[in-house]
Amino acid sequence: MRKDMIQATDAFERVVHWSLAVSCIVLFVSGLGMMFKSFNFIGTMVGGLRILKYVHNFTGIFFIVSLVLSIRMWWKEAGTFEMPGDLEWMKAAGGYLWHVDNVPEVGKYNPGQKAFFLAVAVFGAAMGVSGLVMWFSTGFPAFAVRWMYVLHALGFLVLFAFFFVHLYLGTIGSPGSLPAMTTGWVTRAWAKKQHPKWLREMDESAKADVHAGGGHG
């Protein structure tokens, strides 16, 4: 235990998160290089568009593996909504958009984070499937392949926009949350403000753990 701190993520969670994040960024950059002629220079920087295609395709495999691990790992905590608490929180937009005196308490992940997780899960899977069809398109009917391009572009639209939301709320938009994905430890003050219910649950289970003689925290 660290003083005034609480562990939000374990090492495996952080490794999976950053695998997903890094592959996502590489896919954004290499994809943009192929999607827009004005970004073709990104291809030139790595030795040509053809090499950029290979970078994109093989990073895609890495992304799919990271995504599968992420979904398996976070589904229980972030993939399901808890009513009515989550609904109350959403009605108040978590206090992010207008002034709310008492933001409804939610668990470890708030509905905004859950929505983000689900968007990444759903559109990430769509990107994986459509990407693989595009890669091996000779084995599929042309009509189906065309709609995979549409799906891939739609997935990009959603994920690219969400990426900036995530980046903002993980850094300057919500000071104190970044350490959750670097050291894994957040301050109790931050947790009390952002995820009071989770903090209480952790404290209770820690007490229980002491009695039960350990467990990981």
Binding site: D4, L49, R50, Y149, V150, F164, T187
Partner: protein, 265 residues
């Protein structure tokens, strides 16, 4: 941009000698491949990465019970509004100064986007080269005032090439002369193709020939709507985050009164 050219394929004059097919392979130095007898003179069965033009053989019985053997030289139609050029990420597929669709093979990255976008199913992928191949209407020959290899080889006059307006006039005159169901195919869609057919039967009679070819709606949605919109949405998100930061401000642990106790923890 020079004057647009059009290659006219008068299917009624074609004897299916396949001289054009061989001449195309010879000029473009494309290897032949071993095929199996499938009970048709049509060989290979479809366009291939190394077969850019192909005579399609079709047995057809018209509504009066008359048997007809239809020959159609298939290959790139050289659209004015070409789906392949629209999707090509590298500029390998491009419009030539004659309005035809050229292919700079060195730029092709083998993404295969054109292969699914083309309404005529023309570009073909070679696994060995990881590249796409298709007819470029012998651009290198046209640039030196030579007719394409297929036109040069045609012994019956079924293939001719020339300025667009002149060839269109010729096509319509020929269709009128033939009468009946004879028609001109190509000038009415995808902005007008630079390969035009004179067909003896209605277009829907011919195998593998789309009746109303167009740039697919999915391609338009992808390239003209989602693509620009994706950058717009991302820009809007960044602007929104910035506005949020300077107006509403970040969410701080000690923001609200009831949390003040958390401050000193």
């Amino acid at each position: 941009m020079k004057a647009e050219i059009v290659k006219l394929i008068d299917t009624t004059k074609c004897t299916a000698c396949r001289g054009c097919q061989v001449a195309c392979k010879q000029w473009n130095e494309m290897p032949a491949m071993r095929t199996r007898n499938r009970g048709s003179y049509q060989n290979p069965p479809d366009l291939q990465w190394n077969t850019w033009t192909l005579i399609r053989f079709q047995e057809y019985v018209d509504d009066k019970g008359a048997f007809k053997w239809l020959f159609r030289k298939d290959g790139c139609m050289h659209c004015t509004d070409a789906a392949c050029v629209k999707v090509c990420p590298s500029g390998a597929l491009h419009y030539s100064e004659y309005g035809t669709v050229g292919l700079k093979s060195s730029l092709c990255i083998g993404c295969k986007e054109c292969a699914s976008a083309c309404p005529f199913d023309v570009p073909k992928y070679s696994h060995a080269d990881d590249k796409i191949f298709k007819c470029d209407l012998c651009l290198s020959r046209i640039r030196t005032n030579q007719s394409p290899a297929c036109v040069k080889s045609c012994p019956t006059g079924a293939l001719t090439i020339g300025p667009k307006d002149k060839m269109l006039k010729k096509a319509y005159a020929r269709a009128k002369e033939l009468g009946g169901d004879a028609n001109v195919y190509g000038d009415k869609f995808v902005g007008g193709t630079h390969v035009i057919y004179v067909l003896s039967e209605k277009p829907e009679v011919y195998e593998e020939l789309p009746k109303n070819p167009a740039v697919p709606a999915s391609i338009v949605l992808w390239k003209d709507i989602l693509k620009p919109f994706s950058l717009l949405v991302a820009g809007g998100t960044i602007a929104g985050a910035f506005l949020h930061y300077i107006t509403h401000g970040p969410k701080l642990p000690d923001e609200n009164g009831h949390d003040a106790e958390g401050k000193g923890e």
